[in-house]
């Protein structure tokens, strides 16, 4: 362990959070559930915000939920399920992938902008985020957005905070748009496709009007998901099977538990749980995914891959040695337009290889400028994003 109890500051109210940041004399390592250990390792005092918890407001008829940033995601999911609703962006649980314990929190989910397979149809975590309260690096409480569906009042710092990994401010409260959970779901499965054929099948499905809510490829085969009212799912599954027929034999899975288990495995990148190896997460144009994987193959890596978002998201596992494939992966990503993040690697690799993608100079200058103004002392997860 690189820290002990005396180096943990635990807060249970926003006011205490602001005070803790104002009084900090050095770097703070922001901690919710401690499940998303991504990025450069930060040395500093742990600032534990899991005490900022509790659902403050949930209006099913308005599709909105407001909760403390430390609220366990599981607690929110239970509350939503009781009303037949859910977080549409399908936030992933990375504990299996990253080998972490603890309980994922809303704040961590937002700070990492964690979305799952349904991102391709329902948008990302940032798209469902309606409002935030946070404390900036000076210890000032800031609110932005609110709890209504449409809000263009002033700048959208809500989006900026999503995916900022605690480097611009520490979230204290988040407001989320929730959606009805569907009555039924089905998954269409194609077996034995190579990456190019798989992306072809997923593209055909996503180009159709049948409202596909998941399109992934991995050890399970190629998966296409349909959700909605039962009659509608049956109808669209039938039509979609016709669209997919040229790609091979289509099996349709309608059992609710089996469908949920399959997509949980996709969402949490189950094929890479446990074992060795560094894991990269790459965002690309979907049609570029097969070429990207082929290019990795020419360099002896990339055979171990899972595609989600119709090919727009590639997870690949490589040996955790040397640069963990960084030079090749970054070059092949850059050549196509997109970005790659090193999600899992040993501490040694994460010290050598910048986990987050380097930005072009002009963009990097803007990012640095924002960090300097929101965290002038550079104490919030400093260096985590590179």
């Amino acid at each position: 362990m690189d820290h002990n109890e005396s180096r943990v500051v635990k807060v249970t109210e926003e006011r205490e959070l602001a005070e803790a940041i104002r009084e900090a004399t050095g770097p703070l390592r922001i901690r919710g559930g401690g499940t998303r250990t991504v990025g450069r390792v930060v040395e500093g005092v742990d600032l534990d915000v899991s005490g900022l918890n509790g659902i403050g407001l949930y209006e099913p008829g308005a599709l909105t939920l407001v909760a403390g940033a430390g609220t366990p995601l599981a607690e929110v999911e239970v509350a939503l399920a009781a009303e037949g609703q859910r977080l549409a962006f399908e936030p992933a649980d990375w504990r299996g992938l990253l080998g972490t314990g603890g309980a994922p929190t809303l704040g961590g989910m937002v700070a990492a902008n964690v979305s799952g397979p349904r991102r391709v149809q329902a948008g990302a975590c940032r798209d469902a985020l309606l409002g935030v309260r946070f404390v900036d690096g000076s210890g000032t409480v800031v609110k932005n957005g609110g709890r209504v569906m449409k809000n263009v009042t002033g700048y959208d710092l809500v989006k900026l905070m999503a995916g900022s990994w605690g480097t611009l401010g520490v979230l204290s409260e988040v407001s989320l748009k929730v959606l009805p959970a569907p009555e039924a779901a089905a998954v269409l499965v194609l077996a034995g496709l190579d990456p190019a054929a798989a992306v072809g099948a997923m593209t055909a499905a996503l180009r159709s009007p049948y409202d596909v809510t998941g399109a992934a490829h991995g050890p399970w085969g190629t998966l296409l998901r349909i959700e909605g009212f039962a009659g509608s799912v049956d109808y669209r599954a039938g039509r979609l099977a016709g669209v997919l027929a040229p790609f091979g034999e289509v099996r349709v899975e309608r059992d609710g538990a089996a469908v949920a288990a399959l997509w949980r495995a996709v969402r949490d990148v189950a094929p890479f749980h446990g074992g060795d190896g560094a894991v990269w997460r790459v965002s690309l144009r979907p049609s570029d995914a097969p070429g990207f994987l082929a290019a990795l193959g020419r360099n002896g890596i990339g055979a171990d891959a899972v595609m989600d978002w119709g090919g727009g998201l590639v997870w690949t596992r490589v040996p955790d040695t040397g640069d963990a494939g960084e030079a090749v992966i970054r070059a092949e990503t850059r050549a196509r337009g997109g970005h790659a993040t090193l999600m899992r690697a040993s501490a040694g690799t994460r010290a050598r290889v910048a986990p987050f993608p380097p930005e072009p100079a002009a963009v990097a200058a803007l990012s640095a400028g924002l960090r300097a103004r929101f965290d002038p002392r550079g104490i919030l997860n400093p260096g985590l994003m590179g």
Binding site: E59, G61, A62, L63, T64, N113, S115, A124, D127, T140, V141, V142, N144, G146, R147, V148, M149, K150, N151, V152, T153, G154, Y155, D156, L157, K159, L160, A162, G163, S164, L179, P180, A181, E183, T203, L206, S208, P209, D211, G228, S232, Y235, S283, L284, R285, P286, S287, W309, G312, G337, H339, F356, P360, A362, V363, L366, S367, R373, F374, M385
Partner: protein, 477 residues
Amino acid sequence: MEMPAADTRVMARTSEIVAALRAVLPADAVIDDPAETRAYECDALTAYRCPPLAAILPRSTAEVAAALKVCHDLGVPVVPRGSGTSLAGGALPTADSVILGVARMNRVIEVDYDDRFIRVEAGRTNLSVTGAVEADGFFYAPDPSSQLACAIAGNVAMNSGGAHCLKYGVTTNNLLGVTLVTMAGEVIEIGGAHMDAGGLDLLGLICGSEGQLGVVTEATLRILPKPEGARPVLIGFTSNEVAGACVADIIKAGVLPVAIEFMDRPCIRATEDFAHAGYPDCEALLIVEVEGAEAEIDEQLGLIRQIAMRHDPVEFREAASEEEARKIWLGRKSAFGAMGQINDYMCLDGTIPVSSLPHVLRRIGEMSREFGLDVGNVFHAGDGNMHPLILYNANTPGDLERCEAFGAEILKLCVEVGGCLTGEHGVGIEKRDLMGVQYAPADLEAQMRVKDVFDPAWLLNPAKVFPLAASAGRRGV
């Protein structure tokens, strides 16, 4: 509403500024003849007008960059303009500013159906984005009422919405990337045809920043396959409260219509007189539209009918044909025009939690009597985005001021119940001085810091969004 006085030091150098712009732009791209600059003196918030020092109409990102560099180096404020349809005064110039219009940049750069995006120059109109892809079965989802005229540049600046965003989201949810030119003339690519940011989400920050962070010259937009079909129903109710309760029940039941539109009696009356859509004579009506194949539509509308029946509707009218569907939408789509026939009007845009609809509508009715001004309500009920239309007479001295005071009270009410000042039109100058109602000084300071990063000299659209007193030090006043 006040605008800052023009900077006389800038005005004194008008000929130098125009000459410097002419040196980097084609002759027909620089307009300084007062007879012609008058065309740029206002946007759709016509109550406020001021001709700019000059207007420039570049044809490329390189020309935009060159012109911005000139203005930057000479310290001249720049007001970006798409099609000038802002209802919030987002494109209102000051006398010492240069209007930068992107209307000539309207090409389609790339269409990719496999990756489901289109890349366009930002001057292209919203409707013509869909126009470029609809023959192939695709569409661009955000559909502001002004979509025939409004430009993608303005949509990105204001994060525009529309009637169908309950299902498809607003501009920011459909924007994948932009080419941004900073005030210093630097060209920056943000995002692209892939999803999500690798670092900080600058794209999310730029969308909705009202032309204050940079000039967007190109945009990559998500396009979607068109649904197999769509069908609206019209449901009439005996009160606003009952209609509001029906909206909440529909949403809770798990149906997600593409649109739920609401009209109250004054609006129904006005549109009937104007468009003769055959609407029932009732206190409130909803237009609910669902999508899918025939059988799917039947299933969803069956559920909506069940829910509506619990609220004793005075009418439940399902479109049995294209023509009937058109008639159901006709009144809604002509509502603004119909209200405009009666009088001048001011259109508000506050958004509230759907659960507060009945309370807010009742309070607006009470305030209407207090202020002695009629108001009609027509809005996107599914997401709580209200559009109260306050009627006034621009030729009656004091009427505009009374109307603005009434509007401010409505917006304060929206914030009070947990909503916001503007759901899709933007702050501009119209809501600028009310920002303190929604945000504390520290909240505004955090937003202004962002502008400090992108535009340290505060030259881009400087007198908008933030109360003038709050931004004074930064604007060099």
